[in-house]
Symmetry: C2
């Protein structure tokens, strides 16, 4: 019923047609490639012989998945308080959705324990009538849902460094996650408050102990901004802004202010601490790129990636995530020879604007050294740059918005390492 | 910048145009409708004055959301073991994704604690070469991702009863959930094993203490069936089949065999316990509808719904979920007058085949009694039936596949109750 097919490479070093698996893998001996043995006599396992555990009000992962966690943890300089971040374990994740327990977290002075009954959102400044909202009042408003990624502006910053940093997909790139967010369109609340035509920006402020605040163009507030109350169906987690956060699809993570308590409409950006001393991109010759908000198109291979060892020559799937803060991912290309040749990866549906997109391509590893790369192009035509291109433009002081092409080196022993190529 | 609009009802008893909110709500006084006060002086809350909590490897919901849990729990007849189910708290959820901790659970003899290193999947019977797969071997296979609902065949069965059962969206309809599933297409493994042309069905068996097994048409196995390893990005939760389950998009939940250990290709259905004594639909005059697998188009309003009290006349959003085991939701209509008149609801993107779809429509409640209903139509043209229609066809013995239109009665006091209308 499924046709047999050629296994003609579509790019150097063993990359195969992305549609190969759709047409059936019978011809290529995938089972032996994957090391499956012929049928064993199935023994009845212990857990089939005894009734299992009872039901749970709120479920948890298997105890055998305890190593799948956010991390690495920063130095705890102040005894369990202060700023920090942990990263999503990208090498252990699949698909486009990040489960809420593993969504990356970043806080500037810890994660507040907010009582939603006492929380208020104030909209004021250059408006006709200032408004205060309780969580309950907001919950009565019409809502909207969208699947969107959030990426910290500092994600992947280590790749600006002069030497290829040791690390995993998680430790190098794990400050990105994706969820279905539901909440009230900010445009609706601004309309209700009545925008003064003099207003061009707004300041969003959190109720955390850092009073984290950022300036946002009013145009974004009237476009696709959302006061998000739900994350993957349930109320937002504390580390992601409970009881509400600002969602600015595609914009740098830090602007998606968590624990949101205040939106003040103003004429000009406020030059807050977190848009001056931080989250501005140092360029060459003393220049700074400030207020560069959207996260440009990017991709990273998560399978294989450092920490996941290859178990001998044969067929593997190369899989990863791609995204763009400016729209949809139009295509992802993969190279197995360090960028000399490229092949088109398959994209998993649905491909959504400003959301993670899963890509996949089959690869026959011949057991020799290989350098794996992925390159995303978004629907604006923007192409993810090489390291040379990005550093050529930005210089060596850049810290933020790093979206250059990552290289994973595969050794003959099957070990995968971050390399520059 | 947003135009003011008429608030002309589009159906009886206050239903408003679904696009109203898209065009701006400034004209209709939504804030006062929602009871928001004019701006208070924002006090600095306690949690802004003290550093917050430290980072967590695996995040949990806010302690203030402790009441959002699966339930109700069945009688624990055997001291924490045995069969049972809990339901997703639909009235507390938003969007289309069910978070993993709240995905409904159903087990026939408890939830096994499976060590993935010892688990095996056997494919045998009418195949050219029987195959055994470890989790690790399967993990090397090319994967596919899709967002799909799973609904227990017994969901909403109480609505066949002669009197309107007291209950909530959760207790009446909570045996449905939706997640992004990732795994290996079953067709690929069957191709590898080599299907004997005599095979027309397969038996899927779980490794739980009930050895839950069901017969599935081979055609479904070669179509969109998946050996799912991931649920919303992370490994499947124990209550949903860790380390692997069968996913049969759109088919009754029980067939999506959890803790999957065996797929045996056969000529005819095996008439297992769970497709004969249960999960067959009793009809009139001694007839039984067996092997009716897809869950037909259905919808339920989750907001407002029993337990969520209305707080006075004014504008509300009516929101809910719709789905079809046969394809995409084409439209959802809502009635506020017990089915006399209907208005089209807005559907949240993305609208995906065999996935939950969120619908929304604004409603001006005048403070009088109202009966809210929703009616889904899928892209095959199938229309969700009324209670009279469904019981007229099936008779009074039916237990499964109940997808009739639910009615929520709203009293002048704002209380919402399940009613027959």
């Amino acid at each position: 019923m499924l046709e047999h097919i050629d296994e003609t490479p579509v790019a150097g070093n063993g990359l195969l047609d992305r549609r190969m698996f759709l047409r059936g893998a019978g011809a290529i001996g995938l089972v032996s490639a994957a090391g499956s043995a012929a049928a064993e006599t199935l023994m009845v396992p212990a857990w089939t012989k005894t009734p299992g555990a009872w039901l749970q009000g709120y479920g948890q992962p298997s105890r055998f998945e305890g190593n799948v966690a956010r991390g690495p943890f920063p130095a705890d300089l102040y005894g369990g308080i202060g700023p920090g971040s942990t990263r999503a374990p990208l090498q252990n994740l699949e698909g486009m959705i990040t489960p809420n327990g593993l969504h990356f977290e970043r806080s500037h002075n810890g994660i507040p324990d907010i009582n939603p009954d006492q929380h208020r959102l104030l909209i004021h400044g250059l408006v006709k009538r200032p408004l205060t909202f309780t969580v309950e009042a907001l919950s009565r408003y019409p809502m909207t849902s969208r699947i969107a990624f959030i990426e910290c502006a500092g994600n992947s910053g280590a790749l600006y460094g002069p030497k290829a940093a040791e690390g995993t997909a998680q430790s190098l790139h794990g400050l990105v996650s994706c969820a279905e967010w539901t909440g009230v369109p900010l445009a609706m609340l601004l309309e209700e408050a009545g925008v003064d035509p003099a207003a061009k920006w707004f300041i969003a402020e959190g109720a955390d102990a850092a009073s984290m605040d950022r300036s946002v163009p009013l145009a974004k507030g009237l476009d696709d901004a959302m006061i998000a109350l739900y994350q993957n169906g349930e109320r937002i987690r504390p580390s992601n802004g409970y009881p509400m956060r600002l969602l600015l699809p595609g914009y740098q993570g830090n602007m998606n202010v968590k624990w949101l308590r205040r939106i003040k409409l103003v004429r000009e950006p406020a030059m807050t601490r977190d848009e001056t001393s931080k989250y501005s991109l140092l360029l060459k010759q003393g220049h700074v790129a400030q207020f560069n908000f959207p996260m440009d198109a990017k991709s990273v291979i998560t399978k294989p990636s450092p920490g996941l060892t290859m178990t001998g020559p044969g067929i593997y799937e190369i899989s990863g995530i791609a995204w763009s803060g400016n729209g949809k991912v139009a295509k992802v290309e993969v190279s197995a020879d360090g960028g000399k040749s490229w092949a088109l990866a398959a994209l998993s549906d649905p491909v959504l604007s400003k959301a993670l997109t899963r890509f996949r391509i089959p690869w026959r590893w011949d057991g020799g050294p290989a350098i794996l790369q992925s390159r995303a192009t978004d629907d604006s035509g923007y192409v993810q740059p090489t390291r040379e291109q990005q550093i050529g433009v930005r210089g060596s002081l850049a810290q933020y918005h790093c979206n250059l092409i990552t290289s994973w080196g595969v050794s003959a022993a099957g070990e995968v390492k971050h390399v520059y190529a």
